[in-house]
Symmetry: C2
Subunit: 173 residues, 2 copies
């Protein structure tokens, strides 16, 4: 059947440099453990597998490794659309300002009384990544969190429609 | 294939009294709309379908209608286990104290530096309800939220194992 995967967090901190640099000339010299697969490295692999389009609906986005992945995809020509919460997009450490400066399309929830509390991503319109995990450092490294990754059309399709609805109803940031 | 459903929130406020009282002698006289199906009424139907066991991992639980459902299931003899966040279990409006007073088994995350940020339920060990939705009034009625409901074994099984791990590792509240 179609891909169905569950990732649990917290995820131990390991080196994921090889995910960004496909041909490393020298072994990485950083102090983190190398060659270890974790929930986070798996999540990054799924995101970095994007070829054409990435749609993100993320309440809180401050994780530097995740934003590095988004910047890399943007550089590779992937069409990226981001819907964020109005209040959380400008808190300390938020990566949303940097995404906008890089030319990535960001929109925010219009009402300040309502939170855009989703945390999901759609990779190439056919792979859903969704769960309790915000894209923060605490989310990844400290909290008890879960993420479902699936290509099951019955689950992916409703999120695609919901994304388009939110995208149309949100303000350009 | 096995059940796969996605519910999106916010959900409009409608009367769900019929879900609690199977044989109502008189039509309900409350001012809310009647006979309307919503994401929230569907979520309640899934929860109230529990026959033997309900395992909950919920970061924030203050919604009175959801706690009414839990109390009803408890009265019907359903074995209920609840894992909650240590910090959020005692905030204003939390239903956790009331659950414990009713004799429901509640445990909390041991470390205060770490948040138990899950929001999932396992109905009879075979139906998973998981997403971004906390069991609060804002979550249900105001926020943009999502919940996946599925009986897909590949998705349910990992959550069952995770629940048992958290249950064993948590303190009786
Ligand atoms: Zn390294
Ligand atoms: Zn009524």
């Amino acid at each position: 059947g179609p891909l169905k995967e569950v990732l649990f967090f917290p995820s131990p901190q390991v080196c994921i440099e090889h995910l960004f640099t496909s041909h490393m000339r020298f072994p990485c010299a950083c102090p983190l453990p190398h060659g270890v697969k974790t929930s986070f490295s798996r999540l990054m692999e799924h995101l970095l597998s994007t070829r054409t389009s990435l749609d993100l609906c993320i309440f809180s986005f401050s994780n530097m490794e995740l934003s590095r992945a988004i910047f890399l995809l943007h550089k590779q020509g992937v069409i990226i659309r981001v819907v964020v919460d109005r209040e959380y997009m400008s808190i300390t450490g938020s990566q949303i300002g940097a995404l906008r400066k890089a030319g990535i399309n960001v929109r925010h929830e219009m009402s300040s009384a309502v939170h855009m509390h989703h945390k999901f991503a759609l990779v190439d319109g056919r792979k859903l990544i969704s769960g309790s995990l915000n894209w923060t450092l605490t989310g990844v490294q400290s909290n008890k969190e879960n993420v479902i990754v699936t290509e099951e059309p019955e689950l992916v399709r409703p999120y695609q429609l919901e994304f388009l609805k939110l995208w149309e109803a949100s303000d350009p940031a």
